[in-house]
Symmetry: C2
Subunit: 250 residues, 2 copies
């Protein structure tokens, strides 16, 4: 079984509808390639009690917890303090990060607000931020990253190679001009023959209004995924429709 | 205090990175307009135990639970059965929905797989689906909708006017060519003066690479929001930069 993970998106801006999430899919794809199973995502507000409780709960449930958001210089950037509390260690100045930030920003700009970004939980390992220097960090099984997509991506790309994953998640997709209700019975039979895989069907509508469905087989055993893919192809063919290989959505 | 809500996005396709979420923001915006506070979003896989446990947990924590996904005709469409279990009622044929679907699809197409879509928890109130007829439903404080965005939107628009909300969430936004670290102290002072509002700062980058920040005040008391907005304008002005009113992001 691959290691499991949960992603916490911390920030009021997604919950209020102000901001369209731009981080979940990037992280989901990276974890899938690395053979780490993303089992849950939670979006929670910038409230200390909620962050502490959620981190504590999720780090007991999953092998890894990734967080985005709340590590900047403003009053609502409370993620580092909350993660320290959830893990049970004090928050303190991380000397190396402090020096790096001071030298990057200059003494004058490195005011009290910006110094907050150099406070990490005791024992944390910084995650490099090539965009704006202020680091993310890993402490125990919690990996804390920025919410701004370009900075999060810089951190995630630095972090991911340091984590031990399993075989990558593989998938095969076929799409067909069919409706779900027509192929549901055949698809269930394939699922029953490949109980360790996830077989999913995803209806879509083309720009010209024609409706179709993508059938996807996913799992960590590439041979099984290939066999299930062939069965899906045969199923579509048996229903008198041309199976189209490729990306799940047109 | 406004009623609270949690949104559950049920489906492996977001967790595997296959699909970009297209439902959170639509629902978040609708709830904000209706004065229902979206306090959490969870994305969970198509696994019965996880769905049942999450629905049971969240419906105890929040006034409303909204779900999307898993109510189609295929083997992985298990949301209705899981919600029935979480609420503690049996799943049974909903006669009116059965007749509607049969008459819409015709007897021949209305096979066993498609008949699954007419099984609802006992006592559920259907939510109309003008796109493809198969209904969503409300049972107790759980509101179950489709995952396909066009169908979800049809259901959500039918459902929302039936729920009692509070005053709508109001917000004021100013953006400025400033960095968060420069205004953090001033923003915190405003937050302290308006403890019932959420004040947030959101860095952004323009297409030409110029960096700025959006300062947003949000809350359910429109007078307070307006006053905090004026204080934000004054703060930006006092830092020697022109405050730009309007949409939070450029």
């Amino acid at each position: 079984m691959p290691p499991t993970a949960c992603l916490l998106i911390i920030g009021n801006e997604i919950l209020s509808g102000r901001t369209q999430d731009a981080n979940i899919r990037f992280i989901a794809n990276g974890l899938a390639r690395s053979g780490i199973a993303l089992e849950e995502v939670r979006v929670i507000p910038d409230k200390a009690r909620r962050i502490v409780d959620t981190v504590a709960t999720c780090r007991a449930m999953f092998d890894h917890v990734f967080t985005t958001g709340g590590i900047g210089p403003t009053h609502d950037d409370i993620t580092a303090a909350c993660v320290a509390e959830a893990v049970g260690v004090p928050l303190e100045i991380h000397e190396e990060s402090y020096r790096k930030l001071e030298s990057y920003l200059g003494k004058e700009k490195f005011n009290k607000a910006r110094q907050r970004m150099a406070w990490l939980p005791r024992g944390a390992v910084p995650i490099e931020n090539t965009v704006s220097i202020a680091p993310g960090f890993s402490i125990a099984n919690v990996h804390v990253m920025a919410g701004v997509p370009s900075i999060m991506q810089s951190m995630f790309n630095a972090l991911l190679p340091t984590l031990e994953g399993g075989a990558p998640l593989c998938s095969v997709a076929w799409h067909a001009d069919l409706r779900e209700g027509t192929l549901a019975e055949g698809l269930e039979a394939i699922q029953n023959d490949f109980p360790t895989l996830d077989l999913g069907s995803y209806p879509f509508e083309r720009a010209d209004g024609r409706k179709g469905v993508s059938l996807v087989a996913k799992g960590y055993d590439s041979d099984q995924v290939a066999q299930a893919g062939e069965r899906i192809r045969q199923l579509i063919d048996s229903l008198g429709v041309t199976p189209i290989e490729g990306e799940p959505a047109p």
